[in-house]
């Protein structure tokens, strides 16, 4: 078996953070891979909710979109989107959420709206989607995001989604009911908030990554925890399961769709 890629390290590290039976709001891309990997390995009773309204989904292949038919077909049931956001998410019935973004700051706040000024952006990003309220309401969030000085920034161009706000307990004093980011999983390892200041600090490294690499990739002076752990390497079971999932997904997405020509 070839060595794990950094994407695979990220996905597997994220999957491991999910306890069996937890109720998880899933996003597309790495989060979807991580959640389904957890389901196919140590967490068979995890409940996956995609914001399209599919509850308890068990897809055989990863969806391209958040609302592929596969998600509905393998769901325990499908609810309208107002139910997802009001009766599940806002009601505090979801444990875990995964978020991505274009930019993150040291307090785990996220930007997925614009680069540059809002009214005249140099890059218009997709926007908020479910993120602001996922971040507000779930018990804990995980952020999956590759690190460069352009993505891990001193100051966000726009705050789409609050993490720990301005830090030092600001979130705990806010109206947000959820606990905020528990970890940021990036391509060199894992950052986690400091218990007092809420500032993200380096707590774990993937094999082959170093503190220096981490510092170079992060656009603010990166704090480092007293003890840095080494993330245990992907097991062959994890890697085989993940690669098989991706292979099934590639096959499925490569299959030509028959046009619904009348």
């Amino acid at each position: 078996m070839t060595a794990a890629t950094r994407d695979e390290w990220m996905t597997i590290a994220a999957a491991r953070m999910l306890r069996d039976g937890c109720v998880c709001f899933v996003g597309i891309g790495l989060p979807s891979a991580a959640c389904n990997l957890a389901r196919l390995t140590h967490a068979p009773d995890i409940v996956l909710i995609y914001e399209s309204g599919t509850i308890g989904t068990k897809p055989d292949v990863l969806p391209l979109s958040i609302g592929d038919g596969e998600l509905a077909e393998t769901a325990a049931f499908v609810v309208p989107m107002p139910d997802v956001f009001a009766y599940y998410l806002q009601a505090g019935r979801v444990d875990v959420g995964f978020l991505g973004a274009a930019q993150i700051d040291r307090f785990g706040n996220l930007n997925s709206t614009v680069i540059g000024p809002y009214d005249a952006p140099s890059t218009r990003l997709p926007g908020a989607g479910g993120a602001p309220e996922i971040a507000a309401h779930v018990r804990e969030t995980f952020v999956l995001l590759k690190a460069t000085p352009r993505s891990f920034v001193e100051t966000l161009d726009f705050r789409t989604t609050a993490g720990f706000g301005d830090g030092n307990g600001a979130r705990a004093r806010s109206a947000a009911q959820g606990g905020g980011p528990r970890a940021v999983i990036t391509d060199f390892g894992i950052l986690a908030p400091h218990a007092q200041t809420d500032e993200l600090q380096l707590t774990a490294l993937f094999e082959g990554a170093s503190v220096e690499e981490a510092r170079a990739a992060v656009g603010w002076p990166l704090a480092v925890a007293d003890v840095i752990t080494q993330v245990a390497p992907p097991t062959s079971h994890e890697l085989t399961t993940l690669r098989a999932l991706h292979a099934r997904t590639r096959d499925a997405h490569a299959r030509a769709v028959v046009l619904p020509t009348p």
Binding site: G29, G67, P82, P126, A131, P262
Partner: protein
């Protein structure tokens, strides 16, 4: 009986300048109806959709829209909507006013619209910049607890357009699978046009199914394949490959214009559009 041709339904019920919501979350996106808006050269539309998706990328790129109400504007799982970006970043082919929300906010706005309340309430827009970008995200105080919550103005489109699996001959429309906020967008609208895969004598029995009642439906159009490249659960799958190919088509203004000319403007209707794509694929 409300049955009409798509051409006639769009011509009769969608005016230039109208606010129009083509809803359906990933599933049941009314592409055929969107293309017909483009063929008829509609202008100054206020487009409303949680996820603009390719259909609004096309409408925006063809200059049909003056304003967009939305909450997530990407190509799902692929990347950017290049025509939406070009409109916002470079005002091409014309400036586009944004009315931007989160999903939770927009869902609350549709629900308020469907219930004919002037505003929706949510615990949301907490500690972020969205309410600075959109002055119509406001706060309201609970008259019992004093707590401050977010309020959004109701969305009541002039016209909502949906695609669904089936209608019966009375005009009742049944949807199944992922429905997003389609029902709320339908009930919130002044007029409701629905394209359907099939018109049947009797809807399949589903006591608690999702049905839009005939007296809320302005026009039903029989339009098989009307959601393609989105999908209709039970009829055909989403063409994920098309969504991926769209990235290259839409990235460049000329490629985009050529594609729209050849496949949408130069085809008479959705059957023609599908036949043309089918020939290209063969």
């Amino acid at each position: 009986m409300h049955a009409a041709s798509l051409h006639d339904a769009i011509a009769a019920h969608v005016d230039d300048g109208a606010s129009v919501a083509l809803e359906g979350f990933t599933h049941l996106i009314p592409f055929a109806a969107g293309h017909e808006l483009i063929r008829q050269g509609k202008r100054e539309l206020h487009l409303i959709r949680m996820t603009p998706d390719l259909i609004y990328d096309q409408l925006i790129g063809m200059g049909c829209a003056r304003k967009l109400t939305f909450s997530w504007g990407g190509n799902p799982g692929v990347g950017s909507l290049h025509r939406l970006r070009d409109a916002v970043e470079h005002q091409w082919p014309r400036p586009l006013e944004l009315d931007e929300h989160s999903h939770a906010g927009m869902v609350a706005a549709f629900c308020a619209g469907a219930a004919r309340l002037p505003f929706g309430v949510l615990r949301g827009y907490l500690d972020n910049d969205l309410d600075q970008a959109n002055a119509r995200i406001r706060r309201i105080e609970c008259p019992f607890t004093g707590e401050r919550l977010a309020a959004v103005p109701a969305l009541n489109p002039d016209v909502t357009i949906l695609h669904a699996q089936r209608a019966d001959r009375a005009g009742n429309v049944a949807l199944h699978g992922i429905v997003g906020a389609a029902r709320e967008a339908a009930m919130a609208a002044s007029k409701l046009i629905v394209t359907v895969e099939e018109i049947v004598d009797a809807l399949p029995p589903a006591m608690n199914g999702i049905v839009l009642p005939h007296w809320v439906v302005t026009a039903v159009v029989h339009c098989p394949g009307g959601a393609y490249p989105s999908y209709a659960q039970g009829h055909y799958a989403r063409d994920n490959g098309f969504y991926q190919r769209w990235d290259a088509i839409a990235r460049d203004r000329d490629t985009f214009r050529a594609w729209m000319q050849g496949n949408v403007l130069d085809t008479a209707d959705h059957a023609g559009f599908l036949a043309r794509l089918d020939r290209q694929a063969a």
